[in-house]
Amino acid sequence: MAENVKPRVRVPKTASKDEVITIKTLISHPMESGQRKDKDGKVIPRSIINRFTAEFNGQLVLDTTLEPAISTNPYLEFDAKVPETGEFKFTWYDDDGSVYEDAHKVEVS
């Protein structure tokens, strides 16, 4: 089970309607691949973030399946557009069933 999992997200606080905004996300997570062995030669079980979603006011921006090939502390960068003032919701899904969420408001002028 992963400990101290914390997301970091960069989203602008304001944007104009339909402007392209770049979103960067990072989450502290070991992304244990299931390929490594411990000192006794036993395989360390896989434990990764396997899915990430970004939504704005309930509408999908990006839905990503992540595999063990994603590096520790997974980083994702993508572009979104916002039709109105509202809130981004970011969700990370862990192999162990945990779900981590972060939300950011964007004001459309």
Binding site: R8, R10, L26, N73
Partner: protein
């Protein structure tokens, strides 16, 4: 048999270094501009005490890295160390121990109280001992907070030294090497030039004699430590100075001193002094 093997290894190593002599010096056409606003000096006039050992200029290890790795340090969001800086800042104001005190209860705002601290570490404390930043942190924890000491290379310690180190980012490294510090500095210097391990290599063999060249596919830097603790792509995590020292000594097929040992604190002082004048880059990104 074993000896023969070692001799062969050294010979091939020498050949590798010699043959790659022409490869890539520090990059000259890139600036370490953080978040598009704060430029850090990645080279400085070599300190006098080096007596020309590194030529007339000392270079940050950042200049020896690939474009992508350099880019990762230019933006505090792209730099994964900020996950750990955030964690360190949270701990700063979290009460702990029998005294139920946090760092902030004594030191208040980290941005004020810790500014410049990292640039002077390690230094001689009021008892005449050479202390690294980690020693000061654990001293506070055990004597003022009544909390348990953190392991030298524990994640908690690296979170805290990253958060404290960041407060000196951009300030020139300025460790004291004279007065009470002089005997420690001398010992660190001696260690720097002492060959260790089966490969019989000193720090200087790679980082003074051959910086800018390749050891296998690794591009050797001057071994400056102005960016620690840093994010190492290989480890996919935070790495402390002494952790890197351990790795280097192990690479010589030697038995390393322990992280936090007297030997490594003296070495830290000497190596830090080789970068006096370079900007503190904590938390840096390296490969």
């Amino acid at each position: 048999m074993k000896l023969q093997h070692t001799v062969k290894a050294v010979a091939v190593l020498a050949a590798t270094l010699a043959l790659t002599a022409a490869h890539a010096d520090p990059v000259q056409d890139d600036q370490l501009l953080i978040n598009g606003e704060e430029e850090l000096a990645t080279q400085a006039p070599a300190p006098d005490h080096l007596e020309g050992a590194l030529g007339d200029t000392v270079y940050s290890g950042w200049l020896f890295r690939d474009t992508d790795t350099r880019a990762m340090q230019k933006d505090d969001f792209d730099n994964p160390m900020f996950l750990f800086v955030d964690a360190g800042l949270e701990t700063w104001s979290t009460p702990e121990g029998t005294a139920d005190k946090s760092c902030a209860d004594c030191h208040n705002d980290i941005e004020e109280s810790m500014k410049g601290v990292r640039a002077q570490m390690p230094k001689v404390n009021d008892k005449g001992e050479l202390w690294a930043l980690e020693n000061y942190v654990n001293d506070c924890r055990t004597n003022r907070m009544g909390a348990e000491a953190w392991g030298w290379n524990s994640q908690e310690m690296k979170n805290m030294t990253a958060a404290i180190g960041l407060q000196s980012r951009g300030m020139p490294v300025a460790v004291k090497i004279d007065g009470e510090a002089a005997p420690f500095w001398e010992k660190g210097k001696e260690m720097y030039y002492t060959r260790f391990g089966q490969l019989e290599m000193s720090c200087a063999n790679c980082h003074e004699d051959n910086f800018g060249k390749n050891i296998r596919s690794d591009h050797l830097s001057q071994g400056q430590i102005n960016g620690f603790p840093l994010y190492r792509l290989k480890d996919q995590g935070a790495v402390s100075m002494h952790q890197r020292f351990v790795g280097c000594v192990r690479d010589t097929r030697g038995v390393p001193f322990e992280a936090g040992s007297q030997e490594f604190r003296e070495l830290e002082l000497y190596v830090a002094s080789r970068g006096n004048g370079l900007a503190v880059e904590t938390p840096a990104v390296r490969h």
